[in-house]
């Protein structure tokens, strides 16, 4: 228990280190928020006129999808950040300290979570400007953001394993783009899944990102009786499904990440 508290305290110091960087080199967060803003505007004004969602405004439908995509991409900086620290020998320095093995990972994932919070705030404002509205209670809306951030936090731990194993920030960046970009599109993020061809439809319906998006949509009140969720379990119980997905990912990747950190060899 004592060790755990200490790991959290050390993690807080590491998180602070990462956050000071964000504050002094704001480019990172500026670009992390510019691209989702651009996405909101593009989809709202370009595709928004072409995509029809029965019974509701496309912009309302869209926002939860863009949020989900953005926080998942936001989580990938855990991988690039750790790869960079690895490459620079900083992980070695940390590992030579009398400090809990999990502290650096706790710190990294926490600061990346806070980054995602900032990004979500900026995007919400953009969304409100283009006509997105929350039709639920304040607490439900908070829960909607909570579900997305929890999922992103879980993805962070997965990316930590990738970052520590690959050790090159560029490779982590490209690799995660190749995997995550399709993952966030073969989902209910930007269009309904009903008209997708067979295998893609099944994939989209069971894609955890779809569950997260659907959960947020429902918690924001951005759904329409004219456009019900497909009849598959994760999309009928999206909040529960999202939380379960997140917990499973955490349960798998936290131990893996700590193991990878322990034996990490920087070259």
């Amino acid at each position: 228990m004592n060790g755990f508290v200490e790991a959290l305290a050390d993690g807080a110091v590491v998180a602070k280190r990462n956050l000071i960087k964000v504050k002094r080199v704001p480019d990172l967060i500026v670009f992390a928020t510019l691209s989702p803003i651009m996405f909101v505007l593009l989809f709202a004004y370009v595709f928004g006129s072409a995509i029809e969602i029965p019974g509701m405004n496309y912009r309302e439908f869209l926002m939860a999808g863009i949020f989900a995509q953005t926080v998942v991409f936001g989580a990938t900086i855990t991988g690039t950040g750790l790869a960079e620290d690895m490459q620079k020998g900083i992980i070695d320095r940390f590992r030579s300290l009398p400090m809990a093995r999990s502290a650096v990972l706790i710190g990294r994932t926490t600061s990346d979570l806070l980054n995602n919070v900032i990004v979500i705030v900026v995007m919400s404002v953009t969304g409100l400007i283009v006509g997105w509205r929350i039709h639920s209670s304040f607490l439900e809306a908070l829960a909607g953001f909570g579900v997305m951030l929890l999922f992103a936090y879980a993805i962070s731990w997965g990316m930590a394993v990738v970052g520590l194993a690959v050790r090159s920030p560029e490779v982590v960046n490209n690799a995660s783009f190749i995997v995550i970009f399709p993952l966030t599109f073969i989902a209910n993020t930007f269009v309904g899944t009903t008209n997708l061809p067979g295998p893609l439809k099944a994939f989209a319906e069971w894609n955890p990102i779809s569950a997260v998006t659907q959960a947020a949509r429902e918690l924001f009140g951005n759904t329409s009786p004219g456009f019900p969720a497909p009849d598959v379990w994760p999309l009928r119980h999206p909040v529960l499904a999202s939380v379960l997905w997140s917990l499973v990912i955490l349960a798998v990747f936290i131990p893996l990440a700590i193991r990878q950190y322990r034996k990490a060899v920087s070259r």
Binding site: V13, I20, D92, R93, V265
Partner: protein, 319 residues
Amino acid sequence: MSSPVLFAEGLRKRFGGYYALDGFDLSVPAGTVCGLLGPNGAGKTTVLRILSTLMRPDGGRATVNGFDVARQAAEVRNHIGMIGQQSTVDDILTGRENLALWGRLYHLSAANARRRADELLEQFGLTAAGSKQVKHYSGGMRRRLDLASSFITAPSVMFLDEPTAGLDPRNRIEMWSAVRALALGGTTVLLTTQLLDEADQLADQIVLMDGGREIASGTPDELKARTGGDWIDVTVRNIAEIPAAAGVMARTAGGRLQTTPAENRVSAAVTNRQHALTDVTRALHAAGIDAEDVTLRRATLDEVFLLLTGQDLEGEEAS
């Protein structure tokens, strides 16, 4: 004599099918500076990584202050500081912020971490630069900050991996005096270097490594004595005279011979120090060779290395 602070016996480390360390031994007494000297890939960093608990050996054992690096890694980490081959201080933080941050990671309270940061800035001559962002530091200041950041708890053992790589001579000398000061304060230092000069200047004991093993060790003077101790250098005016000069020196100096045509130089190990200079000068004169310069000097560590491996430290085969 008390037991050594750093001790290694038969260390082995394998990467794939390749032994980066292949039976490496080490023994460093308290408060001394030991220099691991060797060419690229000799295994210097691997030794440091094993002793600082970053990597487990595949064979052999090692202790730091009596604690086993594999089985008592946590205790070992309480006694050591290390700086890697690369600098690990943060560019966008100030020197003081960097030190305070590392202080927090060593579990000092915020106030103590700040106080310790100021002490360390003072100790390593960085007080004036303490409030500047590290990106404005010179290479030498950066390295000294690295050193300071791993000296937060004043550990009894410091591992320095190529602490002066990439520094200009002035910065290098500043770094040397910082390292000397650590040793004077009683810290045991194990450093790696590819610079003979550096090992010569700093180390009480040098371990010459190649291919994952020790190939020789001793004080700088002992090692230099291994080549016969003294050398005589003859610089001829005309490169065509080198073979003739070499012939004369082989007869008069008596020891090993080495030519450096690019510098018109022939060197010979000297067996009889007292008469060598006069004998060689006289013989050259008698043979009608026009020598520009004749000097007697101690062997360099490079020559020791060459003698023991047939290669110079840059890894080039001797001709």
